[in-house]
Symmetry: C2
Subunit: 172 residues, 2 copies
Amino acid sequence: MSEGLDAKALWSISYGLYVVSSRSGEGRLNGQIANSVFQVTSEPPQVAAAINKGNLTHEYIEESGVFAVSVLSQDVTMKFIGLFGFRSGREVDKLSQARYMPGATGVPVVLDYSVSFIEAEVVGSLDVGTHTIFVGRVVAGRVIGGGRPLTYAEYHELKKGKAPKAAPTYRG
Amino acid sequence: MSEGLDAKALWSISYGLYVVSSRSGEGRLNGQIANSVFQVTSEPPQVAAAINKGNLTHEYIEESGVFAVSVLSQDVTMKFIGLFGFRSGREVDKLSQARYMPGATGVPVVLDYSVSFIEAEVVGSLDVGTHTIFVGRVVAGRVIGGGRPLTYAEYHELKKGKAPKAAPTYRG
């Protein structure tokens, strides 16, 4: 880390909290918590997500070229975040413990604690070291229920949540 | 836009509000409001920003390969956002109307209404159509003052703010 950098400067960047989900080439399903999701263009609508290369969801997005983003609401439970954010899909079948629907692209769209969802087809990606930024053209999306999106700051403050080691915002 | 897409689904993605600033090859200075800024890796710390290709700041970042991000606080004024977000640096010398300091990389680090700043050197970029995603390795950064980061939702709700046409999140 650079000597001129106080890491706290990075902590004031704002995010939401999301489940990014995908499927393997053979149709296996997985999803993970992510905070680094944002819209990058409006015409056409495209979104970007930074995903850790070691994660199963990364493998699945590379295989299938599609992913979904569920925007988590303020009523999300730590149990849910524990399952999707701190367990690996290589060890536990996360989707068997969640409510989801098959999306237009065949990805599992997670519905639990979700304000809305977005489905995207990968049109570009950028290798940034430990993570890949996947850029997807939005092919579907809908507001699901009520509730307000949980911000990452609220997750830290209200839920006393932490970032796992694989997160772009991990505080070592 | 896809028929399966309700654009409101995209509106629940969370952002902050930032000034992204840079300098030209000849040392001219500019900055603009951006919401699409996020950290993409922690080791090493890297940030990404989606910048409209038509903007002067885009030209400057391409020329100099460096940019700064100032995280705007909740007390930012609509006058300030009007200057940096809705005027072009081709028509007005924005920095002459703001408080800033020269950063380690020579970029102007805007201090007005800023919770913290981050300075970065471009290490990669991705063409996503109307915008470019610039990825920068963070070389400096500090918490400047007090205040809480303004979220994009608060900007819309509290400040009744709109997105300009060049924004990734423009609502046509």
